[in-house]
């Protein structure tokens, strides 16, 4: 038994957890240890951030969970825009692995007027690397036009080779846009750019600014943009995983707002183009969409507001904060909506809280949920022992302080090794992370829920989603299969 194990982690959470960090770091060679040390810490109440560095290159060979810029652009931001065709431009793999993986639900006839669960690729061969792929790309766009005439536009999602071989996809895009009379967006989201998905989000946001919004400006100038209503808002940064954006939208509409666009789950090009006409941008995933929100604020004077629709506490608070930006009618509606769902929420909590009370959870997700879902767990009586982001930035860790308690272990871009060691010591009742982690912890007999894909369930957003969230956490924790692990003839 190590000295660490002999003391309980609760007596002095900060000291004990800091010792745990040091113990885990001991496995690294010195150079990597110095790098990783900056990413691991314990939150101490009253501090303005979590005491970790973030958005820095991953340590080679550490088994980071991070993806790449292409994953951030094609996989997250652009992919869900349903009426455009997103070309995975380069070799076949990236498009293949990101094909239908993210459950961005949409309504539409796939292959005809919607293309979300399809994979379009230029399937680069050696000759394309040697001679460049621009000609192939131009031809491919004409073929798309011929076979998928109802597409509203095309995006070119660059894979690694594109930037390395010096292709000029911007020139191809401009020419093609003229020829087909549609939006063609070149995106420089090669996987080697930046340190994670995060730069891909940023690049994708910038491509909307540069290649989509000019259409709004043109239409506005020509007087073709209708005035809208004082209640026009856009949902920004909801990818409609399992229908999240819909179970959010329903609440915004119920309080009397008019949601004119969803970015980007179940979204369309038309919705994007018209977004600069809204009165307020409502930002759910700050990490992936703050860039375009800031741009709209600067360029069009549209304020933006972060909200959180995980769990009744945050939903109510968010509805009130949003309503406060509007008139008394909306404010009264917000109260009415909160009241309307009170019985449902109460029933969910009465049913599930006794089954989950006092259970602990460790989180490790992408760029928002490591903080955003914490209150939903709190609503069910659960406590958080550790959290961290795959690709959060410093501003995310600042925001995290509003969500976590003193003594919470914080890990940024955690490696597989660190995460396993932390979990072995923290012994949470539930681990909530991603698919790559799921079976590792389930092999350790630990209940697990995927916090990227909702484990093929969902929605989790909104009041309707919270009921499902509660059901699912109970299902994970109280599955009778956990009791089957270990033979009856070898019980210690």
């Amino acid at each position: 038994m190590t000295p660490l194990e002999s003391q309980t982690l609760d007596t002095n959470p900060v000291t004990a957890k800091k010792e745990l960090i040091q113990e885990v770091l001991a496995a690294y060679p010195d150079k990597a240890k110095k790098k990783r040390e900056k990413h691991l810490n314990v939150y101490e109440a009253g501090k303005s951030d979590c005491g970790v560095k973030s958005n820095i290159k991953s340590v080679p060979g550490s088994m980071t969970t991070r993806g790449c810029a292409y994953a951030g652009s094609k996989g997250v931001v652009w992919g869900p825009i349903k009426d455009m065709i997103h070309i995975s431009h380069g070799p076949v793999g990236c498009g293949y692995y990101s094909w239908s993986g993210r459950r961005n639900y949409y309504i539409g006839t796939t292959g005809i007027d919607s293309f979300g669960t399809m994979q379009f690729t230029s399937d680069f061969q050696e000759r394309d690397i040697v001679f460049g792929g621009d000609k192939k790309l131009a031809k491919l766009i004409t073929e798309i036009e011929e076979l998928f005439p109802l597409n509203r536009g095309i995006s070119i999602q660059s894979e690694c080779p594109i930037g390395l071989i010096g292709d000029d996809i911007e020139a191809v895009a401009k020419k093609a846009a003229k020829e087909i009379g549609k939006t063609v967006v070149p995106v420089r989201c090669e996987g080697f750019r930046g340190v994670s998905q995060s730069l891909g989000h940023h690049i994708a946001n910038d491509s909307v600014r540069d290649w989509v919004f000019p259409q709004y400006d043109k239409e506005k100038k020509a007087g073709n943009i209708p005035e809208g209503t004082p209640y026009d808002v856009a949902i920004i940064g909801d990818y409609n995983i399992g229908g999240d954006a819909w179970s959010s939208r329903i609440l915004l509409e119920e309080i009397g707002l008019r949601v004119v666009a969803q970015w980007s789950g179940d979204g369309t090009l038309h919705e994007m183009v018209n977004t600069p006409s809204v009165k307020l941008n409502l930002v759910h995933c700050y990490r992936s969409m703050n860039y375009i929100s800031r741009h709209m604020e600067e360029a069009y004077g549209i304020p933006w507001l972060e909200y959180n629709f995980f769990g009744p506490t945050q939903i109510a608070q968010s509805l009130r904060t949003i309503a406060a930006r509007f008139d008394e009618t909306i404010q009264a509606n917000a109260e009415a909506v909160i009241a309307k769902y009170e019985a449902q929420t109460k029933a969910v909590i009465e049913k599930y809280r006794p089954r989950l009370e006092g259970k602990t959870v460790a989180l490790m997700v992408g760029g928002l949920r490591p903080r955003h879902v914490v209150p939903a767990f709190h609503d069910l009586g659960m406590t958080l022992v550790g959290t961290g982001y795959e690709f959060g930035h410093n501003d995310d860790y600042k925001r995290t302080t509003h969500y976590v308690e003193h003594g919470t272990l914080i890990y940024d871009d955690v490696s597989a090794y660190e995460f396993e060691e932390f979990i072995k010591k923290l012994k949470p009742d539930l681990v909530a992370s991603g698919i790559k982690e799921k079976y590792v912890f389930q092999k350790m007999a630990l209940p697990f829920r995927q916090m990227h894909s909702w484990d093929y369930s969902g929605p989790y957003h909104g009041y309707d989603g919270f009921a499902i969230f509660a059901r699912d956490m109970d299902m994970a924790l109280n599955s009778p299969t956990w009791d089957l692990i270990g033979t009856p003839w070898k019980q210690d």
């Binding site: 060979g61 070799p91 076949v92 006839t109 007027d113 073929e143 080779p161 996987g191 597989a416 790559k436």
Partner: protein, 511 residues
């Protein structure tokens, strides 16, 4: 209230069909700038026509819904089949996240692999430092017995030299000099995942067998699975070999790794081919590969050792017969009565169901070797292959498949569509319909669009559980294939005869 019963909470499958959400969907349309529903319907109809098919097949630059992945995916599947082996992918890091997710979704098991996490600066200066650090870190953290290095297209485009990089890393002490670091260049713009498997397997064998050649053979038969995603097949091969009392080495045996028992403790490297056994493969009696097109270079290597290699595809009755006879001929061991009885049972099962399969038109797609195995089986039961799509095709394979099809009257009507994709398949299914088709999970879109019943065989299978645990090889495998296929057909028949007082005249109790 859509979520109106907490004792029966509705998730997405029901929730969004409640009135509140249906109204929400209808109201959202005003903001979408969508097409007139009639235009959508007309366009959808048009995509079912011969005219559309011709346009579709005329495309030269565009690939839509391909049935292939890229090299490193296959490379790391080979790597994890060896004892204590950590796959190390040199290049951009996102690829590894994708590979791990992909395999994990199919096998529902952990899958470990590391990346050298190259970024812009490495794109300019090369990834030597990433390699040095990456090897040192993964060696220290994950304590592997071997690190198998392959590449992403980024490292390939900038021209990183793995051999030189690994040597430089060893010279700097990243890993001990005698620690095995086999490598393979696996550019994603050449071939597909099966090529990557081949390259990595060759790289591992080159590394491990160096200096291990003996005067005499060790009397063992080497088996190479190829890009095999059915755990049951590896177990079936071992079971058959054990039944026959054969001394063998199953190379890249990832059956334990990809199906480890839940004991409450996580083991990063369950099972795998012992490195010493793999090293001794150079002294083997002969090598049998169960796939040809994922082992081309590997078999060339083995032949260069002076060892005979064979390809056997133990799919269906005759395919299994040939494999067993080959084993028997190579080892002098008789085929045991137990296997003979299994064969008899499988043949019995096939005859029991054959009437439901006879003359049934079938389409399928997948990797070359999978497709050949399926063809063997389908011809044996009298089904008629019609459309065969193989995205990662080649001329040698097509000639082999053609010969197989031509060997049976049931195969005469088949067309091999090499280099085509699932959007081509969609046109084929609309214009020349079949009774059922075989494919991986991505085939479910074809099922939805064309209403052709799908039998899920291949990789990946994400949306059905545990199919990968079964064997498709051997006489037992023949029964599994038969079960999946015939019961899909019978399910479809029931679905089509279920309307009371209309179609249910044929809703038979006994089939």
């Amino acid at each position: 209230m859509a979520q109106n019963n907490i004792d029966r909470i509705k998730d997405h499958a029901e929730l969004f069909h409640q009135d509140e959400y249906q109204q929400l969907f209808a109201a959202k349309k005003q903001f979408e700038g969508g097409h007139d529903p009639d235009v959508v319907a007309q366009t959808a109809e048009w995509t079912k026509t011969w005219e559309y098919r011709e346009k579709n097949f005329a495309r030269e630059a565009l690939t839509v819904n391909p049935a292939k992945a890229c090299q490193p995916l296959g490379a790391i599947l080979a790597a994890v089949g060896f004892e204590g082996t950590l796959p190390f992918v040199h290049g951009s890091q996102g690829c590894v996240a994708y590979f791990r997710s992909h395999f994990t979704r199919h096998f529902k098991e952990p899958f470990s692999a590391v990346s050298s996490s190259m970024t812009e600066d490495a794109a300019v200066f090369g990834g030597l430092n990433n390699m040095k650090e990456g090897l040192a870190n993964s060696y220290n953290l994950y304590k592997p017995k071997m690190i198998a290095v392959c590449t992403t297209c980024m490292a390939e485009v900038i021209g990183d030299d793995l051999q030189a990089f690994i040597k430089a890393s060893k010279d700097e002490g990243s890993v001990p000099q005698d620690f095995p670091v086999p490598y393979a260049h696996t550019p994603s713009f050449v071939g597909s995942h099966i090529t990557g498997y081949d390259n990595m397997m060759k790289g591992i064998l080159v590394n491990l067998t160096e200096g291990k050649k003996q005067e005499t053979t060790n009397g063992r038969i080497n088996f190479i699975p190829g890009f095999e995603t059915y755990i049951g097949n590896l177990r079936e091969i071992k079971r058959i070999a054990n039944l026959m009392g054969i001394d063998y080495t199953l190379l890249a045996d990832n059956s334990e790794y990809l199906d480890s028992p839940n004991t409450g403790e996580y083991n990063m490297y369950p099972g795998g081919t012992k490195l010493a056994d793999a090293a001794d493969a150079i002294n083997g009696e002969a090598t049998i590969a169960f796939q040809a097109y994922s082992t081309v270079k590997t078999r060339e290597l083995i032949e260069s050792w002076g060892q005979a290699t064979y390809v056997a595809r133990p799919v269906g009755i005759r395919g299994t017969d040939e494999f067993l006879m080959k084993l028997s001929a190579l080892t002098g061991k008789p085929i045991p009565q137990e296997l003979e009885a299994e064969r008899g049972r499988a043949v019995d099962a096939l005859t029991d169901s054959q009437a439901w399969l006879h003359g049934k038109r079938v389409a399928y797609y997948g990797d070359p070797d999978l497709v050949i195995g399926l063809t063997q089986f389908l011809l044996e039961v009298g089904a008629e292959p019609v459309h065969i799509v193989v995205t990662n095709s080649n001329d040698v394979f097509e000639a082999e498949l053609r010969a197989l099809l031509d060997s049976s009257p049931f195969g005469a009507g088949a067309t091999i569509w090499g280099g085509r994709d699932l959007w081509h398949m969609r046109s084929l299914l609309f214009t020349e319909p079949v009774d059922f088709f075989i494919g991986n999970s991505y085939g479910k879109y074809l099922w939805r669009d064309t209403h052709t019943p799908i039998v899920r065989i291949g990789y990946p299978i994400f949306d059905r559980h545990h199919l990968h645990r079964y064997a498709t090889y051997g006489y037992q495998g023949a029964i599994n294939l038969l079960n999946w296929i015939v019961n899909t057909i019978l399910d479809e028949l029931d679905r089509n005869t279920i309307i009371p007082a209309k179609t249910d005249i044929s809703y038979d109790l006994i089939r």
